[in-house]
Amino acid sequence: MTNHWVDIKNADVVLIMGGNAAEAHPCGFKWVVEAKKHNKAKLVVVDPRFTRSAALADYYAPIRTGTDIAFLGGVINYLLANDKIQHEYVKAYTDFSFLVNNEYAFDNGLFVGYNADKRSYDKSTWGYQMGKDGYVMTDPTLQDPRCVFHLMKTHYSRYTPEMVEKICGTPKDQFLKVCETLASTSTPDRTTTIMYALGWTQHSQGSQMIRAGAMVQLLLGNIGIAGGGMNALRGHSNIQGLTDLGLLSNLLPGYMTLPGEKETDYRTYIDKRASKPLRPNQLSYWQNYEKFHVSLMKAWYGDAATKENNWAFDYLPKLDKMHDVLQVFEDMYQGKMNGYVCQGFNPLASFPNKAKLGTALAKLKYLVVIDPLATETSEFWKNFGVYNDVDSTKIQTTVFRLPSGCFAEEDGSLVNSGRWLQWHWKGAEPPSEAKSDIEIIAGLFTTLRGMYKADGGAFPDPILNMTWPYRIPSAPSAEELAKEYSGKALTDLEDPKDKTKLVKKAGEQVDGFAQLRDDGTTSCGCWIFSGCWSQAGNLMARRDNADPFGNGQTLNWAWAWPANRRILYNRAAADPAGKPWNAKRKQVWWNGTAWTGSDIPDFKPDSNPADGMGPFIMNPEGVARFFALDKMVEGPFPEHYEPFETPIDTNPMNTNPKAISNPAARVFKGDMEVFGKSKDFPYAATSYRLTEHFHYWTKHCLINAVLQPEQFVEIGEELAAEKGIKAGDRIKVRSNRGQIIAVAVVTKRLRAMMADGKKIHHVGIPIHWGFKGMTKPGYIANTLTPFVGDANTQTPEFKSFLVNIEKA
């Protein structure tokens, strides 16, 4: 979230699209209710299904699954065509006036530079026109046809309300009603917040859906503003912490990145990431990259990371490509992997195409499962009748189960969607022989290290030299780890402005990332968390909800990254002169000598507005980008592409057979062939979660099992009547990858819609069931889903695929 849960109460309009907060985030949804009750907010829900969120909406509009970019592109077109944008904001705080490379072009579904064989782009022309001074050229008058404003306007002029209706199936009048409601917040005194979740991320073009939403918010001047922002509602309670700490294959902690296999030179690695400003007087905060990187390497390798060995740069793996979960299972499927450690993860249930996953797991020599529960993955080799019909005698994989405690059985911090690190204390000891995850991993590490020490290995240095300063090496405490990621001074730190003074004494915790250095005198395990455990103690454990400005920022409740800042880009909540856009909603402002306010300013504290520094300090431009340059693999502007399994067989936005679905999405050999076609599988399916359950965990819990005991699928009344299906009947749902059988819930909440002249029915498939647990046994819903992900993140396309149904 750019903002945070409590801040939603400040919104005037709440758009829930690509998510279903009432269903999947009921506790956070209370702030939507609060906005409605006490801020007269209007709730708008756009979803293929009339959801629990829609039940409380002031306005609901249906949309065909997977067509959100078409819808949002239509909103962008509406806002530009009807001049419903916050002019001063976009002019000062975005790339509206930036001039784009003359060779950049878009034609019939494809951007310039496409290579169909590689399914990827040469992105070299997706850039700016650079001036002789080394800065991007701009045209503040917005007259130049190559300025971002004009290119964007042209690009989205194709997204007419008629086109939106044709692609999305949203009736034109309903689409326009949503546009009008959003447009009502283009004034400086009103805001829209956008709440989204997996309903946007889990598409082959999911990242671009989110970009499109962010573009709408920028046009409305709603980024950085209380009650505004782009708010990703994270699923697991600590999935935000997972990404923050860099647990994705290409990341290091704090959104630093692993070097690629060609990046073997340390200086080149750093310089590429420490971007120089692209406009005069801009901060370009990533210029500090080396300070964060060196402090990380000192936290990991201590004295073994020296200036001479480039802070142990050679210890870091050099990445050949993303090794996301789909890639890992593809490698496993091809027999290229011997062992897999599966910690707090149940991929057989939670990743797509169960048949492929099961086959892949059976090719392993060993599988280690670290989990509090007996998961489907840990028993993939056992026959559970129709639910897991495998021949155990043919599976030779050795499975090791290491029982772990659960979240309530350990101390530590959880990072919520709003970037708050909240400390929690254990409520009970793990049962029986279960150990905490930290203890299990530390035990594995210390044992492996001992083996490397005794027997050597190909390259033991990164393991033997890793710092492991914990009091009990086989069981580091949560406190020790928290202090490590917050960071400390390794030597006395002199004040650079006054050498006679010390900023920190050796061994003291640092106050924040501004004190980190690139000379090896500081260590910090995750720079964005720096300051969460300072000399003042554990700030994550704070529970003071005092709200002196009455706007819900509560700076003394827990600790938010970065720097305890509650709303990102909050400099943009003040006008270029440093005065709040909205006198009633004061966040941060320039008091004549410094930035101050109800939140920690997301800005250089002493930068006079007259100097013109932009509010988006992480971008070298200082402003937000509508034109994404080369940062996205499928193009600088979000363009509508159909899901890989499309019910309409065509993309009404173009006539190019190469551009029906995302042209730059990675598809493995063999998976393209098992995408279903609409003639065999005519119904648009989408999978989702229910309030009564959490993923595949709570089916192990009796109370949740009582509340939603048996697997079901949802279909509309019209489709049910066509197929002779009554509520409560058992129906068979088939995709080209497998089938499930479940009870039919026949509902008014799923309606047929017309898209491209064709009647489209949706089939709703809740996940949650499996062959282990207290509920009635069920089929794994991901038996049906396709093995393809978002082109940028590789998050699987769980939300849009094709099925057929019949009475079982």
């Binding site: 009921p26 209370k30 609060e34 039940a55 009796l702 207290m774």
Partner: protein, 295 residues
């Protein structure tokens, strides 16, 4: 919420006065249907606090589960899909005991002290006095009490009288994530409802209103409804609930006759004892005799 005493105001089948010197605030639970998302957290909290676990059932083609109230499910969510002026609405109502000011269950109950009404308005079942006759079900205009198959006694929502007695709100209120469930004095709840109704009317629900049916003297569980003019839209919430005339008949004419009959049995038993000495008395008869003694 001030500390609530559990002074009993009324008792079933009891004629002597209840203690009434101390003043207590009337409490109420407000169910704001218009901010309820049907998450069933209230159902889960009810199971946990009261230590009741219903069976793992099945899906019958709807979201409702458990399907109905039972001795182990004292509250259930009821989901209704209705179309109003061409607009789909998903009306979700938490069902359970309404804690009537004039409780039909209590009036119908023949077992002394099995049903009590506290001075704060909560209607509670004291299962140790329950004889399992099921008259409370007949007496209830909302079809709430259920007889347990395990012990043949009647059960329903207690409004967490044990929590309220020590100044805490009922478990369902505490668990509700959206604030759709509120608890306080009846007047506070009416005032709060008034605010909600103003908001709903501004949003176009011209018939929004409070459900506090006077046919049962008002209730200590009230609903805010978008369509207060048509409560039946909410899975047949009764429009004008009142106590069944059968209960009045039982109270007015039948009960004294039955008492007479029971006294007759008691007398003949005594006669039997005097003449024939102690006998094997069935447990049921023994209970009945004890109850007769108590009244």
């Amino acid at each position: 919420m001030a500390l609530q005493s559990l002074d009993i105001a009324r008792r079933s089948a009891t004629t002597t006065d209840s203690p009434s010197v101390r003043q207590t605030t009337e409490v109420a639970k407000l169910i704001d249907v218009t901010t309820c998302i049907g998450c069933k957290a209230c159902q889960a909290a009810c199971m946990e606090w009261n230590d009741i676990r219903d069976e793992v059932g099945s899906n019958s083609g709807i979201y409702d589960n458990p399907r109905d109230l039972s001795a182990e499910s004292w509250t259930v969510m009821r989901y209704s899909e209705v179309e109003e002026a061409g607009k789909l609405e998903w009306l979700i109502r938490k069902d359970g005991c309404m804690h009537c000011a004039d409780p039909g269950c209590l009036k119908a109950c023949p077992a002394p002290g099995a049903i009590v009404q506290y001075a704060n308005g909560i209607v509670d079942f004291h299962e140790e006095n329950c004889i399992g006759c099921g008259y409370c079900i007949t007496g209830c205009p909302f079809n709430v009490p259920r007889i347990s198959k395990k012990d043949n006694k009647a059960y329903k929502c207690t409004l967490c009288s044990d929590r309220v007695a020590v100044g805490q709100e009922p478990a369902c209120i505490k668990a509700c994530p959206t604030g759709a469930l509120q608890f306080g004095s009846k007047q506070q709840m009416k005032d709060y409802a008034e605010e909600r109704i103003v908001d709903l009317k501004e949003r176009g629900f011209k018939d929004a209103g409070l459900y506090d049916p006077q046919g049962v003297g008002g209730t200590h569980v009230m609903y805010v409804l978008h369509h207060a003019d048509r409560p039946q839209l909410y899975n047949n919430l009764p429009e004008n609930p009142s106590i069944s005339p059968m209960v009045a008949l039982w109270k007015g004419v039948a009960k004294p006759l039955a008492t007479l009959a029971l006294a007759g049995i008691a007398f003949s038993s005594l006669f039997h004892y005097v003449i024939k000495g102690p006998n094997e008395v069935s447990k049921e008869l023994e209970d009945e005799l004890e109850e007769e003694d108590a009244s």
